[in-house]
């Protein structure tokens, strides 16, 4: 038991967990904003909606589909020049952020679009009949009415992002993935890998719990 306690470098584990939380929270926040924006654009420019515009819709949908389809590990590699240009380095937690956000935002954008489609068209029409502006419709109708779905969507996305950070860790971004790979796998200490896995699981459970709580709290249907 003492061996076990010694084998795991607890301060390093804490540091790695901190890095994972940092990468996840920044990328979840940015993904939420960017994905919401893209999802709204996808929805509003679609046929029969207030900004219906086929060409804009096709361009955004194409962009979203392309970035959603590239496997994350390949996306990181493809984005190396872009990240270097942006941050001057390929190492550290910050260097993982562009790939995390560009990988997750299109995924979330589709979820936003699906959530918005669920809203009864009649409600939008009723708002128009009251003289609502487009701003009113977006901020007072579309977003509040789809909020539970938006929250459960960002929860799922956040959990994928935890997975993505682990993958990014392998190529030098730090965090629990990096820790498990470097300290556990490469030094042949399976117990370290296991502890890192447990830390990730706890993180995922916490995210799921918070997500479920707010989904339920906002759902008045």
């Amino acid at each position: 038991m003492a061996d076990f306690m010694e084998m795991v470098k607890w301060d390093q584990l804490m540091e790695a967990t901190g890095e994972t939380i940092y990468m996840t929270s920044i990328s979840v926040f940015t993904t939420f904003i960017l994905g919401l924006f893209l999802g709204l654009l996808l929805f509003l420019t679609d046929k029969g909606n207030i900004w219906a515009n086929r060409s804009v819709n096709v361009v955004i949908a194409g962009f979203v589909n392309i970035f959603r389809s590239i496997p994350f590990i390949i996306l990181i590699v493809l984005l190396i020049p872009f990240t270097k240009l942006l941050l001057g380095t390929m190492l550290g937690a910050n260097a993982a952020l562009p790939a995390l956000i560009i990988g997750a935002a299109p995924f979330y954008a589709r979820m936003v679009e699906i959530a918005l489609r669920e809203i009864d068209k009649g409600v939008i029409e009723a708002s128009q009949s009251m003289g609502a502006t487009q701003g009113h419709i977006i901020f007072k109708v579309l977003i509040p009415e789809s909020l539970p779905a938006l929250i459960s969507g960002i929860t799922v996305t956040a959990i994928s992002l935890v997975g993505f950070t682990a993958m990014a860790g392998v190529i030098g971004a730090g965090g629990l993935g990096h820790f498990a790979y470097l300290e556990g796998f490469q030094r042949n200490r399976p117990i370290v890998t296991l502890v890192a896995t447990i830390a990730i699981l706890i993180l995922v459970f916490i995210i799921q719990f918070i997500g479920d709580y707010f989904t339920k709290k906002t759902d008045k249907r």
């Binding site: 029409e125 128009q128 009949s129 009251m130 003289g131 009113h136 909020l147 008045k220």
Partner: protein, 341 residues
């Protein structure tokens, strides 16, 4: 108040063009409850949606309170829409908001803030009789309560016109009646002009002053409700009128009556307006040597008066029966002899 001139609406469809509304002309007076009745697909929904610019006419003009709704756009149209509010068949409430917050929504749109908004919301809740349900969410309300929220929301910005798009079609008969009473009440109290579309003649009979009957995009009959009830011209109108004046089993009943009374005559009387209040039968019995037997009757009340049908059986000498029928006729009561016994 509302003037619809030569309005057409053509939708492009795969099988060529669909004329949803075809050359409709209507004038609706201020303070009137105007009903448009038709079966589904008759174009009534498209017509009412052109009154607040949710649809634009392909041709013709829609004018409400000197504003040409079919021409204005943007901010001017939004401003106009605050004065032309609408209630819907499926209520279209925001489920994420409470009753109070739903009613506050149009006030937020109009830029009314704080205490003034609160005050108006509580006035409206009282007006539609939803006291105590302020903090309930739509999912906790019955259909009738939801429509009351819809009405309160529609009245929030003191509109001049209220459009009702099949507002009672999703409600049970009893709730329908209470919502219709509420509409009549606000029409009288606030002097609101109401335009409603429906497929139920019951709704027209109960609250409308004027009615337009629509069939395949055209208005085929138009007039005060009582006149249309008294004297329906088109076959479709006759069918609608029968919905409320004749109980469904009338045909079977008359057949039955004919078998039951082989002598004398079975007569259907139709009363309009004041005629329903005269002691007609008493006069017939006193003045003519006939036996009168009342078989079946029904009186329907409309906003401009009553309309009733009565089946009676007259027995006696043929000449005396004829005299009685002539007398009834002279009292401005419609007489239709069902059979010669």
């Amino acid at each position: 108040m509302i003037s619809i001139k030569n309005v057409q609406k053509i939708f492009p469809s795969k099988q060529g063009q669909l004329r949803a509304v075809d050359d409709v002309n209507l004038e609706i007076q201020e303070g009137e409850i105007f009903g448009v009745i038709g079966y589904s697909g008759a174009g009534k929904s498209t017509l009412i949606r052109m009154l607040n610019g949710l649809e634009l006419p392909t041709d013709g003009t829609v004018t409400i309170a000197d504003r040409v709704i079919s021409k204005i756009k943007g901010a001017e149209l939004r401003k106009a829409r605050q004065e032309i509010s609408m209630i819907f068949q499926h209520f279209n409430l925001l489920w994420s908001r409470t009753v109070s917050e739903n009613i506050a929504f149009p006030l937020e749109i109009a830029g009314i803030k704080g205490p003034e908004r609160q005050k108006r919301v509580s006035e409206l809740i009282k007006l539609v009789g939803l006291e105590g349900r302020e903090n309930a969410y739509p999912s906790q309300l019955s259909g009738g309560q939801k429509q009351r929220v819809g009405i309160a929301r529609a009245l929030a910005n003191n509109p001049k016109v209220l459009l009702c798009d099949e507002a009672t079609s999703a409600l049970d008969p009893q709730t329908t009646d209470s919502i219709l009473e509420l509409l009549v009440d606000i029409n009288k109290r606030l002097g609101l002009t109401i335009v409603l579309i429906t497929h139920e003649m019951h709704v027209i009979r109960k609250i409308c002053h004027q009615v337009a009957v629509m069939e395949s995009g055209r208005v085929v009959e138009l007039g005060p409700v009582l006149d249309v009830f008294k004297n329906p011209q088109q076959p479709i109108t006759k069918r609608f009128v029968q919905q409320v004046t004749e109980p469904e089993e009338t045909k079977e009943t008359t057949q039955h009556l004919l078998e039951l009374y082989p002598h004398g005559q079975v007569v259907q009387l139709s009363f309009i307006g004041e005629a329903t209040e005269h002691p007609l039968i008493t006069n017939v019995i006193r003045n003519f040597d006939v036996v009168v037997n009342i078989l079946q009757g029904k009186i329907s009340h409309t906003q401009n008066g009553s309309y009733g049908t009565l089946f009676i059986h007259l027995d006696g000498q043929a000449s005396e029966i004829q005299n009685a029928i002539d007398y009834i006729h002279s009292q401005q009561v419609g007489v239709e002899v069902i059979s010669n016994g």
